[in-house]
Amino acid sequence: MATESIKYLAPDTENKAKTQVFPRPGQHTTGLIDWLTTIDHKKIGLMYGMTALFFLIVGGLEALLIRSQLWDHNMDVLTNRQYNQMFTMHGTTMVFLVIMPLSAAFFNYLMPLQIGARDVAFPRMNALSLWCFIGGGLILNLSWFFTGGSPAIGWFGYAPLTDTRFAEVVGDMGPDFWIFSLQILGVASLLASFNFITTIINMRAPGMTMMRLPVFTWMTLIVSFLIILAFPAITIALVELMFDRTYGTNFYDFLEGGKPHLWQHLFWIFGHPEVYILILPAMGIVSEVIPVFSRKPLFGYGLIVFSGAIIGFMGFAVWSHHMFTTGMGVVATSAFAMLTMLIAIPTGVKIFNWIGTMWGGRIRFDTPMLFALGFITMFMIGGFTGIMHSSVPIDAQHQDSYFVVAHFHYVLIGGALFGLFCGFYFWLPKMTGRMLNEKLGKFVFTLMFLGFNLTFFPMHYLGMIGQPRRTHTYNEGHGFETWNQIATIGAFILGVGIVIGIYQFVSAFFNKKLKPAGSNPWDARTLEWALSSPVKEYNFARTPIIKAKDQAWENNYGPRENHAEKEPLDDHGVHMPDRSWWPLVTALGLFGLAIGMLFHRNIDPSGELVRDYTAPILAGSVAVIGMIMWALEGPGGYHLFPKENDE
């Protein structure tokens, strides 16, 4: 690497030496310690992505077990409790440990590159977010090994099924693991979101006005706002549930005057924006890919951004459509039905605009484009069945039937997952510097598209002829067998497709035989494509001065006045912060706190309940010490001096 570096000598060097217990790992850290202490948004993004892909395999295996159990009537692959645990874990894993972190991976990796920034605003906070995510995922999956096994309450955890009063295993700890895991995952999401918002608002390169932001960055911003507004609701709901379970309060215990409805409102006022948290990033990705492969700018950029914001805003006003059958009365039900129908309009706008983008273009059908087209069509079907559900009389039949299962898998696999895979195929050349094998990519798309439709399309029909969801088996004589078998076959095909896809993604980092990508293999439009592949650790050698939307495209094809300029080189170089242990230590503290709280209760020999807070207090102290040391360790860092055009 053509860079030299000097140790950064800050004026407070002496003070720093006094407060530092051990120094921040510096420029030449490599190997495991580098990955554990890194605060580079690109490495954090990669770890986010790889962990999420691992959980995608875990959640996928759970799904395949579910599908095997439903192969025929009265199957014995799983017991009913195991099945219920499976669908709870499958849902929770896929929502919180797969789709959200995969989106976060792209946010992390790309958003700073798209706005011309050195890193996110708070790099260490970003690392804490990553470690909290991994800790939360661990806690959830550790539940398999303790009393009662994993939670069997559904990913929605409806009260009062979560109450200890209705536990079906004595001393069932599953729901507790679930509560603590979601709380820590919530911390991870909140940290990341505050970080992204601050970054996008404050760290855009000169000339990168808000209305020149790439759509993916816009979606990052909107989703981040959704997260910071939606997660407090579930945090409160979970705290109340934890108090109900641990200290015997009565927030949801109807026998003591609590209100199970409260849980549903709190859960869905989080849960519905969550749906948009899952889908908007994928829409952002597709909005980047379609213009590139049509060689045209996005049709109606302003409208797409605005409709994204409207979807985010209205996402908070439709939560009760998950509760149409809970007896809310005519007025509330009607109001939420109408609002839900309205939200279809901004969603439809996006589809029109994507087609408008392709109109008059030169369309290439590379793998990312195939996934983007798959996204549009599958998301359309999911959206249409969504409109059906907004109509209460229809919902009265569809609610909790397999029709709904079909609907949201069309949105979350055909939509979100296809969108994210599209992102992988599109940006991995940027991340690894290598082109992925096109033929294999198209094969993966074919498998996934076929398998997915084979699995989920028959479920519409199964729901209509009366198969309820979340049932571990069905009786003979209902005519459910044939289509369940087809769905199971489809699920395995989909599974094979996803596994090959993941293999392809991971091997791109190691397989030296793949073609080198060059800086802009797709002839793409946004700023990150002006950088080399893989991106250098300092991102931009000189801060770019942005002159137009789609800056990379304008640099190549635009008029001279639209070409980006660069801030002049100075002798200051690029300041790189040192790595830090404290995000990891703080996350470990939080992890220990949760584990300590899970096991703080014991029954002593005389049968008394004994509470021992030593472990949680110790672990909590570690987290607090981590934060204090974090504040005290000082900026540290070093300077890199890249050459003129070295980026």
Partner: protein, 467 residues
């Protein structure tokens, strides 16, 4: 206008055939969509409304999918890059047209209105029983005033994992099989004593949740014409009260048949996840003619009337013919009683012991022994027989021999299934509370019936004798 449109889409035979044709394609080998629990085969006013709105939405979305998908296909074909050179061309960089965008927004809003109007009408319909005095809307719905005036009320209580059906107007309670008059509105009050359940009977009325600490409401009214189809009332809705329903259902079809030849038999299911055995929480609803329903109510009222229960023989009383008394019979065991029926008028003191010719055994020996077992095996702790027993832990078993199904609709209620069920219910419904409830462990007599055919047969004789 929209109403007209719905009825046009829903009733126009061309569209109807087209749609069933679509499903035919989809369903491949099985050409029918009237499965036992199918929402595509509505047999009531509310479910018909739901079906109509659904079909409207299906047509709207098929239209949209074809239009938008067609545009997409056209664009992909028309503007594809045909070769490597073309893929490098730079097309005009147009980036939007507010005219087209606004137009599309307005068009999609209009389409939504077409769905919104029937939606609002449907919300009112499924939440409110029409006013009996509002003859105009009754006429629109094709109802007669008497159908609303004569409405019956059923309090449904969900328990893990079965259903209690209480008829407050008649003071009777049954479980897992809801008997209702086909021509009258049925008001359903939904309650639960544990977690959330959901009452779903697709062919009659969709679903509504049972929320703890809250009473929810739904209603339905069956469509007698649709239930009967081309047959008559006796074929479509055999009487429950004399066991005709049970025997006809058993005779006409196998349990595994996918379609129900008896139109008046409806299948329902708990639709909200409620714990381990949620999948097993199903139920039946049996439609009856008014007359049969009245008879059924009367039988139940008599069976559950504490004043009409068989009393011990009283030497001071003279009994008329066909009186029932209970009297000691040592053949059944020390201190055991048996039920006797008088075959003629008896004068005071003519007990079954003194005048055996005047009395006959009301039930077989197996029945009487089964009755004893029902107590000694502690069945009575959870199951009420011949009493309302609200709040009992298990399903009410009054007139159990009339039921078509066993174990909350999971099996056919015949000797064979009942024997399997009694011997090891855990094998059939893993985690069921009869096997796993509080205080039941391997020492419990119930868990030790596997090899005891004699006892099982006696219990079966007793249970199926409740008819």
């Amino acid at each position: 206008m929209t109403l007209k449109m719905i009825s046009f889409f829903a009733n126009h035979s061309v569209f109807r055939n087209l749609f069933s044709g679509l499903f035919l394609l989809l369903a491949g080998s099985c050409s029918r969509i009237d499965h036992k629990q199918s929402a595509l085969d509505p047999k009531g006013l509310v479910s018909q409304n739901q079906y109509d709105v659904f079909m409207l939405s299906v047509w709207i979305t098929i239209f949209l999918f074809c239009t938008v998908g067609g545009c997409l296909l056209y664009v992909l074909w028309r503007y594809r890059a045909k070769n490597a050179e073309e893929a490098k061309e730079i097309p005009p960089q147009s980036h939007g047209s507010s005219f087209i965008e606004t137009g599309l927004i307005i068009a999609s809003s209009i389409i939504l209105v077409i769905l919104a109007v029937p939606t609002l009408q449907g919300i009112v319909l499924l939440n409110r029983v029409p006013d009996a005095n509002d003859s105009e809307s009754l006429e629109k719905l094709g109802l007669d005033r008497s159908q609303i005036d004569g409405a019956i009320t059923v309090n449904v209580t969900g328990k893990r994992f079965f259903w209690v059906f209480e008829y407050p107007q008649f003071g009777i309670v049954t479980a897992n099989e809801l008997v209702f008059p086909a021509t009258k509105a049925v008001r359903i009050n939904l309650r639960t004593e544990d977690v959330i359940h959901s009452f779903w009977v697709p062919k009659l009325a969709g679903k509504m949740d049972l929320m703890p600490g809250q009473e929810n409401f739904m209603w339905f009214i069956a469509d007698q014409k649709k239930i009967m189809g081309e047959s008559d009332a006796a074929t479509a809705m055999p009487a429950v009260h004399d066991g005709t329903m049970r025997s006809k259902v058993f005779a006409k079809q196998k349990f595994t048949d996918e379609f129900e030849p008896v139109g008046g038999l409806f299948y329902g299911q708990c639709a909200e996840f409620c714990g381990n055995s949620h999948a097993y929480m199903s139920f039946r609803a049996l439609a009856q003619t008014d007359e049969d329903f009245d008879q059924w109510v009367k039988r139940f009222q008599n069976a559950q009337n504490p004043n009409l229960q068989t009393k011990s023989y009283d030497p001071q009383t003279s009994y008329i013919k066909n009186s029932y008394v209970s009297f000691a019979d040592n053949k059944l065991g020390a201190g055991a009683n048996r039920e006797y029926r008088s075959v003629r008028k008896t004068s005071p003191g003519q007990s079954p012991q003194v005048a055996p010719g005047a009395w006959e055994k009301a039930h077989s020996d197996d029945y009487e022994k089964g009755k004893q077992l029902f107590s000694s095996l502690q069945c009575v702790q959870c199951h009420a027989v011949n009493r309302t027993g609200l709040g009992a832990k298990g399903p009410n078993l009054t007139l159990y021999g009339l039921r078509t199904s066993l174990a909350a609709g999971w099996m056919r209620n015949d000797e064979e299934s009942l024997s399997k069920w009694l011997k090891n219910s855990n094998e059939i419904k893993f985690g069921n509370l009869m096997w796993n409830g509080e205080g039941i462990d391997d020492r419990h007599p119930l868990r030790n019936l596997q090899d005891d055919d004699e006892k099982v047969n006696q219990l079966i004789a007793y249970l199926l004798g409740q008819s």
